[in-house]
Amino acid sequence: MQNSSNDVDVALINSNTTASNIGQSGEMLQQVLPFAFIRGEAVVEKPQDLFIPPDALEIILESFEGPLDLLLYLIKKQKFDILDLPIAPITTQYMTYVELMKDVKLELAAEYLVMAAILAEIKSRLLLPKQQVEEDEEDPRAELVRRLQEYEIIKKAAQNIDELPRIDRDITLAQASFSSSFVAKAQEADVDLADLVNALQGVLKRTQAFEHHHIAKETLSTRQRMSEILSSLSKLKDDHFLKFECLFDVSEGRHGVVVTFLALLELLKEQLVECQQVQTFGQIHVRLKGADDRYDQ
């Protein structure tokens, strides 16, 4: 599991692990573990109270998640006494930072200053004679302690979450692939009939081509029949001709016959088919225009 305590670039070492000072003699000694590095130089001392060495300010600010985090640290590790705040030195020290902070992260520093101000306020109220504190007024330290507690709970929860097994670190997904030759059939887009009509109207607006070809139900049924006739004629091979009457389906009734005939006339007009009648009143044959030529080639 990861140690989530700090994610900044500086190395922060827990106070308990700080080793003894470098020994005098040549014997192998444990090296002093620096608290942080500032511009390459090790800072061995960590903050003993709210005072932060000016050079370390930026790093300290980045190493803690905020003033609550720093205060929590000081209370836990340094036995910083929240009940008897050493306010005077703290205030002086924090005020000197204001100048320094102009060059640093003023926004972040502001949050620490607010905390220093809160601490100073608490201290000043504690110094007031007891009887002047209104009865229903809560001890200002209680509010601070409540915030610290609330923050500590979330800090711990964040550590717990960080330790949960998670994908990429502790859990690996099991997967299989498709064979490289497999190409999934593209799914087809939906089309609305209205899309189609709109598309055609778009074309009509742009062009004069339909001026003489109004599209009505009659022409559409004829067009469909034209496609059908062409389709059946193109299936013919050796016998290029189809008997005229074979194109008609009596069961379709009068309307069907009319449509077929219109389709045939249109196909003739567009020179897509040709009719042959060998003798007067004889059998009429229909075939694809040019079918003959094609096979002669």
Binding site: L196, L220, L272, R294
Partner: protein, 194 residues
């Protein structure tokens, strides 16, 4: 110092490794990067792979050897079904495709050249191909003009898709033209036959 390990353990490790990897794994990689801490021979790895392959024959995925090693693949017969899951929502058809489709529907049989004449721009082969693959359009013949271009018409599937019984049910765009020569000729013929 390598550790002894059971055949079953080797098999589980190889199986896990193959399922965890996005790339095929070779016997050499399995040996040198996965099992180097254990007492495992190349032949033992090969044997494990055989065991795994045999085991998965009856499952939904198969162990397959490809050029760079071994890989678990979806059983080919399930490809189409499984692919349904990962499909993204299809994109809308382009205006060019819809116009082409509309022209084929309303003016069939029609050649690509004729569609281009009306639309004023070239029709890409891709559009025609899409419409044919979708089974909405078919070639019903060839026009007897130079180049013998294909003539396109709509299919029964096209009508089915739009729940139409016939093209007649397509929306009318303009008032019916009464002066059609064909119509009047036909009316004459039919009336004389009655």
């Amino acid at each position: 110092m390598t550790v002894m390990i059971s055949n079953k353990h080797v098999e589980q490790l190889i199986e896990a490794a193959l399922f965890s990897s996005s790339k095929p794994l070779s016997v050499r990689i399995l040996k040198e990067k996965l099992l180097f801490q254990y007492e495992v021979s190349t032949s033992q790895i090969k044997q494990s792979l055989e065991e795994i392959e045999k085991h998965y024959k009856k499952r939904g995925v198969n162990l397959v050897e490809v050029a760079s090693g071994f890989q678990f693949q979806i059983k080919a017969e399930h490809n189409d079904d499984v692919a349904l899951l990962s499909e993204e929502k299809p994109q809308k058809y382009s205006r060019a495709l819809l116009e082409t489709m509309a022209l084929i529907a309303y003016k069939q049989p029609i050649t690509r050249g004729e569609i281009e004449d009306v639309r004023g721009v070239a029709v890409s082969s891709h559009i025609i191909k899409t419409l044919i693959e979708r089974d909405w359009v078919k070639i019903v013949g060839h026009k007897e003009v130079p180049g013998r271009p294909s003539m396109y018409a709509t299919t029964k599937e096209f009508l089915d898709y739009f729940s139409l019984k016939s093209l007649e049910q397509l929306p009318e765009l303009l008032p019916m033209e009464e002066s059609s020569i064909a119509n009047s000729v036909m009316q004459d013929i039919m009336s004389t036959n009655e």
